[in-house]
């Protein structure tokens, strides 16, 4: 019997329902750009906790927000910063007070772990970290000696249960275009069990086929597609909109000591995406 190709489209709420307490969640993006912010806020509206959270090597809002919501037990993220806007307040406080377990890592170790998972290998060999202070603080990496006596560092495979990504264009089958940099996002798609992509714009499969070399993440790496206009906001989305610095500053003030975090959560996080867009109509036009 002839069957239609399966669409991967879902609502934000249905998409994030596949994340469970205790899961390893990985979030894509780079610093204040391409963050899967709408997906992260939708997840924050669910009452799960105990997440193991990892992120591409440069992160900010998703990591800081999920920690602030008390949903994260363990975090692996080598560079969490809002860059010129400031340090990440919830991340910083939670690590200083020991409220989350931080697994120290850097780019080669994190990427080595993801690459091993993507290739189905038990571990990656990373040479650059031999002798660094990182090894003293990261018992998950181990040093081994090869038969010829050479010392190598083994990074065990890191396989997220779920990856959240945000892209600028995508079709209903998950063929995605990153209009700026794909950075770590394709790798995060390859190494995870379930991959959920939000897109600013849903485009047709015909449009995707008109320029296959523009597809930065092929659809067969993707499980669920969510159409979410301004889905990276308050972060930027390369080629579509720049970061909203005023909204990010509002976030940082709320998350900082003495800030009104509860008000931020009720007025910004605990509202659905349509309401969020109306509330930010001035910024997102």
């Amino acid at each position: 019997m002839k069957q239609a190709r399966r669409s991967k489209l879902a609502t934000l709420e249905d998409a994030v329902a596949s994340v469970s307490s205790g899961d390893h969640l990985a979030v894509g993006g780079i610093w204040n750009e391409n963050a899967p912010s709408a997906l992260v806020r939708a997840l924050a509206r669910r009452g799960i906790d105990g997440l193991k959270l990892s992120a591409g090597p440069a992160s900010a809002y998703p990591v800081d927000l999920l920690i602030g919501m008390g949903m994260v037990a363990t975090v692996m993220a080598p560079n969490v910063t809002f860059e010129d806007l400031g340090l990440a307040p919830n991340f910083r406080r939670a690590v200083e007070k020991g409220e989350v377990r931080l697994i120290e890592c850097d780019e080669p170790s994190l990427i080595g772990g993801y690459r091993a998972a993507a290739a189905g290998l038990p571990a990656s060999i990373v040479h650059s970290l031999r002798g660094t202070s990182l090894l003293d603080r990261s018992p998950w990496m181990t040093t081994h000696e090869l038969p010829d006596g050479e010392e190598v560092v083994l990074i065990p495979a890191l396989r997220p249960d779920v990856t959240f990504l945000h892209v600028q264009q995508c079709d209903e089958y998950g063929n995605a275009r990153c209009l700026g940099t794909v950075f770590a996002d394709r790798l995060l798609a390859k190494c995870a069990t379930t991959v959920i992509v939000s897109t600013d714009e849903l485009v047709s499969n015909e449009e995707i086929r008109a320029s296959p070399s523009s597809t930065t993440i092929p659809g067969f790496f993707v499980d669920v597609v969510v159409e979410a206009q301004y889905g990276a906001h308050p972060c930027g989305s390369h080629g579509r909109y720049t970061r909203d610095s005023a909204s990010l500053r509002h976030y940082l003030a709320a998350a900082s000591k003495g800030g009104n975090w509860d008000d931020y959560v009720s007025s910004v996080v605990r509202v659905d995406h349509d309401r969020y867009l109306l509330d930010h109509a001035e910024a997102v036009g």
């Binding site: 080598p78 910063t81 860059e83 010129d84 002798g131 940099t181 950075f183």
Partner: protein, 253 residues
């Protein structure tokens, strides 16, 4: 501000630019407007074949304006190619990066730098952002240190935590397993040090026209040896005009 009065950060970008070589592959990280401006200056004036990579993967960007953020689309949309994280991983492991410019919450006399924790590691007074790529500090041919702040709080005798290693460990012992060249110099808006001391410690080589040896000594957390440092070379007007032409927002002003 007239052309003859470069700001401290504009001057630092021009000094740093002269320290970048033609045909080098140079990578800048996040929130690095000074190293970025230095690389664009170098390409424009004396190093047209320098390959500039950004942390976001932009190759040889020509931004009309230098951004505050390393992830900015300004860098990506003006690049001639974009590489991804797998490329950066391979370049890190293979040691193919010639030069990287870094700074820290603290930098010590050996060039150890701290982006991890101020105070104790277990209960820090300040947890820093962490270092995106520690591996690169071990494999890059040249490690260039730049601190936009020259104060005794930043330039310390010994870092609380060595996220990346200098010419020696904070204890003074040799750095094991390094395949790259380690730190070559530390530049601040006020001073230029090279790690040429008998034990690899920083030696003062030059200071800005705007400061004095006494002021530099006072605002440096380690003992600055008696020296007769040179002055930074005078700012070239044409170079300063170029920096300002890509800095309408006055990030370096």
């Amino acid at each position: 501000m007239s052309a003859t009065e470069a700001s401290p950060l504009e001057r630092a970008a021009i000094v740093l630019s002269a320290l970048l070589n033609d045909d080098e592959t140079f990578i800048v990280g996040g929130a690095s407007p000074v190293p970025l401006a230095a690389a664009l200056l170098a390409q424009k004036f004396h190093a047209p074949n320098l390959v500039l990579l950004t942390g976001s993967g932009a190759v040889n960007p020509r931004p009309t304006e230098i951004p505050r953020s390393g992830g900015s689309g300004n860098l990506l949309h003006s690049a001639e190619a974009i590489i991804d994280i797998d490329d950066i991983y391979d370049l890190t492991e293979s040691g193919a990066i010639d030069a990287i410019c870094l700074g820290g919450l603290q930098v010590d006399r050996f060039g150890n730098f701290n982006l991890t924790a101020v105070g104790s590691y277990e209960a820090p007074r300040l947890r820093g952002p962490g270092m995106a790529n520690i591996g690169l500090t071990m494999t890059a041919t040249r490690l260039l240190l730049f601190s936009p702040v020259h104060s005794a709080k930043t330039l310390v005798e010994r870092v609380d935590y060595a996220t990346g290693y200098g010419s020696r460990l904070p204890s003074g012992e040799r750095v094991p397993h390094r395949t790259g060249g380690g730190p070559e110099f530390l530049l601040t808006p006020d001073a230029y040090f090279e790690f040429t001391g008998p034990d690899g410690e920083a030696e003062l080589v030059a200071i800005s026209e705007e400061t004095t040896i006494a002021a530099v000594t006072e605002r440096t957390g380690w003992q600055v040896a008696d020296a007769a440092p040179d002055r930074f070379p005078p700012v070239d007007d044409e170079q300063l005009q170029f920096v300002r032409s890509i800095d309408a927002a006055g990030i370096l002003a």
